[in-house]
Symmetry: C2
Subunit: 218 residues, 2 copies
């Protein structure tokens, strides 16, 4: 049986080590976990013993295949819950993260399979991050920010970079949400402001907005 704390360390190693492939330093891990280096060392030892991690003293830690599987499964759960909270329970994009940190530890294969189906097998969460499928495969989507978009091209909104309340409220006001269709009508060479048609409505957005909106080409 894997404990909640072990799961959280595994997740942190995964994120810090770029999908768990690169070595993660004890100090970096301790900081991510809001704990001390000595505690991180203890946990790394334990994870290595349970064969979730590869560890050589003073050389940092990576995840084993089974460690990665666990991490990916937690990420899948986290992101599916985020979609649920935003799409079904009226949460805003910035409210969901810490709640999903709790929900991701609920243990039930059927729950997560059914939730996935209930949500229509989403491939991305409200921040535009990909949701691994049942087999741990990520859907790769070329993600760009609006400021890198091309004139006359049509895109779909994947998520946001800045998830401040103000920015999300700005998007709401302009009817831009997950999956919104955005057509780049014109890019003003002078100040790089962008004329877009969002869900049919014309709108001019500034660079600072454009830098924080993730899109995929349609």
């Amino acid at each position: 049986m894997i404990t909640l704390t072990e799961e959280n360390y595994i997740k942190a190693i995964y994120h810090l080590g770029k999908q768990g492939r690169e070595n993660v330093n004890t100090n970096a891990l301790a900081e991510a976990m809001n704990t001390k280096a000595s505690s991180a060392t203890d946990m790394i030892r334990k994870l290595a013993e349970k064969d979730y991690a590869n560890y050589k003293k003073y050389k940092g830690v990576t995840l084993t295949e089974s460690g990665k599987d666990i991490a990916i499964n937690i990420i899948r759960k986290h992101r599916l819950w985020e979609v649920f909270l935003v799409e079904k329970l009226n949460f805003t994009w910035d409210e969901v993260h810490e709640l999903a940190e709790q929900l991701e530890h609920i243990k039930s294969q059927k729950l997560i399979d059914e939730l996935d189906a209930f949500l229509g097998h989403p491939t991305h969460d409200p921040h535009g991050d990909p949701i691994p499928d049942k087999n741990g495969e990520f859907t790769f989507v070329e993600k760009i920010v609006l400021s890198q978009a091309q004139e006359h091209q049509t895109y779909s909104c994947l998520g946001v970079n800045d998830s401040s309340t103000e920015f999300l409220q700005y998007l709401n006001k302009n009817d831009i949400g997950l999956g919104s269709t955005i057509e780049v009508v014109h890019i003003e060479p002078f100040d790089k402001s962008i004329n877009i048609k969002a869900n049919g409505k014309l709108l001019t957005v500034s660079q600072s907005v454009a830098k924080n909106l993730y899109l995929k080409k349609l």
Copy 2:
């Protein structure tokens, strides 16, 4: 901050002591928690210290008002999650309990308020037990079993007593579910078998079925 274990003990005291009003013995509590009497004593001490419980050595334990509030809130969450799992995620009535035991500990007021609204403010869970509202008030509904029903009266299905897979499958096969309308057409005096019209369809059910189906008068 209240721990998960504390919450579970409080819930057990609430259930064992008839809404936490009656004294609960250390041994009974230990058995309910699958632990030993000495552990229960330790926890009772702790709960009393935190003012969730009233405790006199050798005299058992009751809940304080704040302890009861906590218990009722956990029960509310548990039962709302059960409704969600059955109504939205295709769980059967007997699959939901242990999963709801995990979900009931998720901490977010907004989550539970929104879930409640999403489900249409249900008053009863899939087992026919009442769901306390936001203020901790239970909807009292006179709950009878089908075997006590009156001829020519119409009822609504509240839940089941026996939640074995076989029984639930029997009900599914006959299109009886939560909220189904059941009219008692005729009670056979010879063997007490009951002729009912369930969701429009005529059906004869035996006493053993009738004893396990909870109804409320319409």
